[in-house]
Symmetry: C2
């Protein structure tokens, strides 16, 4: 494929993804029809189907890209952060690592979770993302345990999954329960896992 | 209202709620039409509307009752449980306090969360439930802090919200990510909040 055409193709793909994220985060996956999507994106059905076979494939691509972004950001945050464990934990609810600071993305992610219950392929995508995030945090917590910052009897993999679960719950409480209290979460996180 | 009629009325109401929970947990709120609901419940539209003005009101009632059940169960669990804090925390992911042991109810609850992002009245219902659960756990953690089981500088309200968030994340990882590892969560919970 010539380069100009590749660039054009990538621009179209991004145009579809951006418009779809906007539609889905406002109205949800099910209340968004293909026609709503095409109107928002500003493309014909023919042009759309050249890039995605359908709405399901689009949702999976959006979920995959969002998870990759979260993973990259968490990796970057952990790499930069050499403070004591209590500070590192306290920083997670307010760090720019995830959808926590983007209400549209948070709404989208909660819909991805709900959809993953019905869509086995999507469930595999989110599970793989969870495993990557767990591995990142587990490596950090293993290191912290060696330094004596985590209780000697703590299982870093178990602690990593609990931290991720608490972050998921925080995102949920914020977006769905309108309980937007990052400082409260930072305080709770700061006293988790004391050696 | 005569007593027989009251009993009949309550039985009908339960018939509707049970059928609706079944429909919603399998197909979701949006993919379930009023006709699907009526077919599952085995009632006419006229009979249905005598009890609920519509699908939204039905969803709110189901969410309210599910939250009341979780709250009652958590209260009972805390009252019975006088073990050390690490054991109490470790018991939460496997205790029969919530939807954790009922996959249908777990699926329903995750849909309630997604729906609460769009339905402000439902968001108020789930927020009130979260506040009651937080108050219960906060009272227990305050007591534990007085006993020296929680770090002296820990905020019991903050710790309560983090525990609830982690339980929500656990439920989610189980139902949507197919990551069903209660023992891992119990291990992680057992080392949270050491004094």
């Amino acid at each position: 494929m010539p380069r100009v055409s590749q660039e054009h193709s990538e621009a179209r793909r991004q145009q579809i993804l951006v418009g779809a994220r906007r539609c889905f985060s406002t109205n949800g996956f099910h209340a968004t029809s293909m026609q709503d999507l095409l109107n928002e994106i500003g493309l014909s059905a023919g042009a759309f189907y050249r890039y995605f076979p359908g709405k399901e494939e689009l949702i999976r691509t959006i979920a995959t890209e969002a998870l990759e972004e979260v993973t990259d950001r968490l990796a970057g945050h952990l790499q930069q952060h050499d403070a004591p464990l209590s500070e590192l934990l306290a920083s997670l609810p307010t760090a720019p690592i995830s959808a926590l600071h983007d209400p549209d993305l948070a709404r989208l992610i909660i819909q991805v979770w709900a959809e993953a219950m019905r869509d086995d392929e999507l469930s595999v995508v989110v599970r793989a993302g969870l495993d990557r995030l767990t591995a990142l945090l587990e490596a950090e917590l293993t290191l912290r345990r060696e330094r004596g910052e985590l209780p000697a009897d703590a299982d870093p993999a178990a602690c990593a999954r609990v931290v991720l679960a608490a972050l998921q719950g925080f995102l949920l409480q914020r977006a769905a329960f309108r309980a937007d209290e990052p400082e409260l979460f930072a305080a709770g996180f700061s006293v988790m896992f004391r050696a």
